[in-house]
Symmetry: C2
Subunit: 335 residues, 2 copies
């Protein structure tokens, strides 16, 4: 009824438990005749070592914890897939936790990670506030920032260059002949997706003598794509825009929906460019032009880096940037 232990195997194979242990951890050190007896016993009992007992000794659980702010956001799906594949390769297991951006939940999870002796934490997308940082330091668990970074603190990170990516998106619109450009962005209190993309937008305008557009911004403070309000404000503020850059695909999709309802044609009357290249952006109406983030690679790379830190392998680059790319589809046109 109860799970077989190393003792049961030892008894059946007629050896001591340390021999069984050796068969599993250093097979060459035990003589062939006994080894095969042990292997037979293991097979017969379908024995598998207890990871808790092992973890107690090794002081390593081969477990990484992933913190995600909003699991409903499709952006994270491929990040997780990348993390999973890298974890598999390196022998880790993933605990995925969704905080819904609730600080209490985050702290409760962090505590839990500590108790469960996770080897590392993958902290995704959210800014690192001072109290978060303090808590993380206190735990003494290696942390990797994924799709976010921190300039104040010395924390390793993997992400794209958001400022440059936003710049490139807006530059693409400008190069397509647009002169009346608007932006729907995240609140500037968000130092990652908010500030950086705003700065990219502004820089692209400035470098192209389009400073008059720099007031054409509407901010949203939620992350959901159910924000037609923002779209309405955008049009009220600046009725003659010919192109809108949104700080996420979800925002872009919400915008597409709103414009369709208003009978405004995309891209004939207004071009729309999104950000993230979520899977869905391929089948919106019209198909969305967007900035592609290498999400899978971000996830994959972040686990590799975290492993390097845990294993103290080499000194990885502290803040690592992966390349982005503009994916041109049907929601933008040349003027």
């Amino acid at each position: 009824m109860t799970k077989p232990t190393i003792k049961d195997v030892a008894k059946i194979a007629n050896v001591s438990i340390s021999t069984v242990s050796r068969v599993m951890n250093a097979p060459e050190s035990v003589i062939e005749s006994k080894r095969s007896k042990v292997l037979d016993a293991i097979e017969k009992l379908k024995y598998k070592p207890n990871a808790l007992a092992r973890g107690l000794i090794y002081k390593k659980t081969n477990t990484l914890a992933v913190v995600i702010p909003d699991i409903r956001n499709p952006y994270y799906a491929d990040i997780i897939r990348g993390m999973e594949d890298a974890s598999k390769k390196l022998g880790y297991n993933l605990i995925i936790c969704n905080t819904d951006r609730d600080k209490k939940r985050l702290f409760s999870y962090l505590n839990n990670f500590y108790e469960r002796q996770v080897d590392g934490i993958l902290y995704t997308s959210d800014p690192v506030f001072p109290d978060y940082y303090n808590e993380i330091k206190r735990l003494r668990i290696p942390v990797m920032l994924v799709s976010t970074h921190s300039m104040e603190y010395e924390l390793p990170s993997v992400k794209i260059d958001d400022e440059q990516a936003a710049f490139d998106a807006v530059k693409f619109l400008i190069d397509s002949g647009h002169r009346k450009i608007g932006m729907i962005g995240f609140d500037l209190s968000d130092s990652i997706a908010g500030q950086t993309r705003y700065h990219g937008f502004i820089r692209a305008l400035r470098e192209n003598d389009l400073d008059e557009c720099k007031e054409n911004i509407v901010y949203v403070n939620g992350w959901s794509y159910e924000t037609p309000d923002a779209a309405a404000q955008m049009l009220a503020k600046c009725p003659d825009v010919t192109a809108i850059f949104t700080a996420s695909d979800e925002l872009a999709i919400g915008l597409l929906c709103y414009l369709d309802e208003r009978g405004i044609s995309v891209p004939d009357q207004i071009s729309v460019i999104g950000f993230d290249n979520i899977r869905l952006s391929r089948i919106t109406i019209p198909k969305l032009t967007t900035v592609s983030q290498p999400t899978y690679e971000i996830g994959y790379r972040s686990v590799e880096k975290l492993d390097a830190i845990i294993e103290e392998k080499e000194d990885p680059v502290l803040r690592e940037y992966l390349p982005h790319e503009i994916v041109v589809r049907a929601s933008t046109r040349r003027l």
Copy 2:
């Protein structure tokens, strides 16, 4: 440098380790003066008990493992949220694993769950094949089927009544005056989302003397929404359909995209009804009429049930069905 243990606390508080343990597990049993000394020491060292050591003794890890076939499918996001909330309430932690429908990955995860002594497994959406069942039985870990069930095996499950839900969806089209109805469904090898919804479709036709429509079915064997082929086949097979029922919202969205490209207006020329009510279905163009599954509740309830089984609380209903609902939006119209 290293994490404080119960011994460190005992030393500082000048008591034995068992007193410290008692302070944590049965505080009333230790005299106030010592208790507060212990509490102070715990606070000072920021001591947290090691969950591995605890798990070894209790033979319980308070961990549940979730197996998901395709994390990119937005359908799972709310199921996971429901599971998380219920887990939090009941004191469990969740390990979420994505199999990408790869049997090898699934088995590797199952093995891992066994080694890590998880208390229960939440197996989501996929059919239970005989070899899966054998493996699960072998592990002797309680399993809950989520959004899937098994008629052959005695496994507890939580889901909606898929046959009835499909029936209701098609009935809704019929009641709206449609007589030429098609379906894009999953392969019948899929006993959950495939067969059941097919049967619901057929029953609705039969009960309304629409047997002539029962050939208007196209099957897809992938789960991605990048399947415009299916839509093309549908139209080739039956050019005069006025309404199409799809077995998932993702399929419906793919269909919407295809019809838009072909210049076919929804719902003017063709009505479309989906299945699942994913978050996104609110902002498609046009907004999607669909069958709403109580995804959050399915996740929540499945954890409650699994906990009841683990704790041998009461005998829960083996196969539990939660109510579905038709959500009428703009992709369907009355004829």
